[in-house]
Symmetry: C2
Subunit: 332 residues, 2 copies
Amino acid sequence: MATIKDIAERLGVAVSTVSKGLNGASDISDEMRQLVLDTAVEMGYTSKKMRSQEQKKVCIFVENMDYENIDQFGYDIITGFKKAAARKRWDVSVIPANLTLQTEENFDTYMLKHGYSGAFLIGFALHEDWLKQLTKTSFPTVLLDNYISNHAHTGYVGTDSFEGIQSAVCHLASLGHTRIAFLNGSKNSMVSNQRYQAFVQSMSACGLEPQNELIEYGYYVPDCAKHYVPTFLEHGATAIMCASDLIATGVINELNRRGLHVPEDVSVVGFDDLPIASQLNPSLSTIRQDRTDLGKSAVFLLDGLLNNVAISKILLRAKFIERNSTGPVRKK
Amino acid sequence: MATIKDIAERLGVAVSTVSKGLNGASDISDEMRQLVLDTAVEMGYTSKKMRSQEQKKVCIFVENMDYENIDQFGYDIITGFKKAAARKRWDVSVIPANLTLQTEENFDTYMLKHGYSGAFLIGFALHEDWLKQLTKTSFPTVLLDNYISNHAHTGYVGTDSFEGIQSAVCHLASLGHTRIAFLNGSKNSMVSNQRYQAFVQSMSACGLEPQNELIEYGYYVPDCAKHYVPTFLEHGATAIMCASDLIATGVINELNRRGLHVPEDVSVVGFDDLPIASQLNPSLSTIRQDRTDLGKSAVFLLDGLLNNVAISKILLRAKFIERNSTGPVRKK
C-alpha cells in the first residue's frame, strides 16, 4: 500500500508538501494539491485515518433520482441506509452527483480529498463517468441496481424483479388478458434490461406470447406515457405494465384523457409501490420494492467490502400487490 | 398468528394439554404430543419465546457434506457462521440431517419441537424431503447453494461462480487450450447447473466452442474421475476443469495412473480452494470460494429473515487462483 513517502518520492517533493496536499492546507498551490491528489489516487493511497477511524465517513451519491420528500423513490433508501449506518456510528453525507461534479473530478480523487472510506451510489446510468471509473476504484463502493464485473471492491444491491413481474403477468393472464404491453424505463439502465428479460420470460411462463409492438423503452418519468400509450392501444393492448409507479400514473392520465377507464377498459400495473400507489384512484396494483431494506442491505454490503468480504450481490424479493387498477379483460 | 388457545380449540382439548405438548412434558401421551405439534405447525404457531428470546437458538443442518476437519468443505462455513452468530449471542447447534431424520419428522415440526428460531441448511440435494417442505415453511431458513421461489421466509447464500469460471477458461485459452473438458458435480444440485451454464457461456466468451462429449456430470467425490477421464482423453481433451478440488484430486490421480503428467500433458483446474489445493504436487490452480464469508453472510441473511427483511440472495465473488496444475498446451 502506497505511503506519503512513496508519493513524495514519485513527485520529487518533500513529504510535508504531500501531507499538505492531502490535508487541504492552504499554503501550497492549487496545482500542486491537484498533482498530489492525482498521484495519491493513481498509487492507490488511502490514509490510515480513513482505514481505521472509529467514526467512519461514508457518503451516498445520488444522481437522476428524487429523494428529498417521503413520497419519492430515494427517500426510504437513504433513510434505511442512515438507520443501519447509525448503528455502526458511521457519519453519512448525501451528495448530489450531477454531471458537472463528475466531469470536474474523478471518483477516487473526490473520495480521497473528502476523506470518505466508502460510498453508496444510487440512480446512476450506465454511461456516466463515475460508473465507468468504478471498474478501477480502490474505494469500497456499493451500487444500487448496477453491477461492476470482476472488481471485488464493488458490490450490487437491488431487487430481484423476476418473481414480482411473473406474479403480475400471471395475475393479468388469469383475468383473461393476452395482449399485455410493457412500458419500460430508460435503456441506459441495467435494471430496465433485467425487467425486459423478466417480462418476456414471464409472458412465456404464463402461456402468453410477448409481442414486440407492445414492448417499449421510455423514461422513468410520467410524461413518457403519452408517446407510447397510443401505439399500445392501436395494437390492441388490454393491460399495460409499467417499470415504475410514476410511469403508471402517466399511463393512467393518458388513458383518462382519451376517455378510457382503468381497469374497465385497460388494466395498469406499476412497479415500486411508492406511497402514492395506494392513494391513486383507482389504487394502483404494483410490484413492491422494499426501499428501506435496500438501504439497510447496502450498509451491510459496504461494511463487508470495508472488511474485505467480497460480496458481489444482495438481492431482495419483489412482491406483487393487487389493488384496484387491474380487472377482468373487457368483453368486446 | 395462531395462539395456544387456537390450537386447543381446533383439537377440542384443554389449553394446558397443548402447552404440555409444546413443552415436551412427560405426562401426556406420545400420540397427543405429536398431534399437538402437527397442528401447531399446520397453524403456523411459533412461541413467544422463539420470537423474542434474548439468546436465540438457531441450527445448522448438514447433509452430504464433510465439515468436521479443517481441510473439509463445510468446516470454514460453520466456523464463519458461528463467529458471526456469537456477536448476536445466538446459540448455534450443528445437526447432521440424514435421510432417516428427514423421513421421521417434517422440517417445521422438528424446528418447533426443539425451539429453534431459524435454520441454515448446507449440502442438501434438490430431491430431499426437507428441501421440498421448505416451500411452505414458517421458519426463517437460509440455504447454501439452493433457492426457493416465491417464499419470503427463505433465502439463498452462495458463490457467484460465473466470473471465476470465466477467468479460468480464459486462462486456459490463453495457454493455447481449445479442447477443454468440464467434469461437473451431481445433477441433483442447483450449483452444478449454474456451473454448467457458466462453463458453456465462458467457453463462448473466450472464443471457444463447448463440446458435448467433453462435458459430464459426475459426483462431488474424487472417485468419479476414473469413469470420465478416459472418455475425455479419447476425445482429445488437453485441459480438465472440475466442479470441486476433490474431483480434481481424483482427476490428477487417474491421469498419473495412466502415465500422464500434470500440467505437461493435461492441465487441471479445481473449484473451492480447499486447504489441500495449495499442498498438492503440482499445486492446484482453482476457483476460490470464501467459505468463512459464506458462513458469515448466512448469519446476516438469517438475521434479516428473522426481522422480516425479505432478502432473496447474497452472492460472493469467486476468484481464479493460478498455481502449477495449468500450463501451455502440449505441442503434438
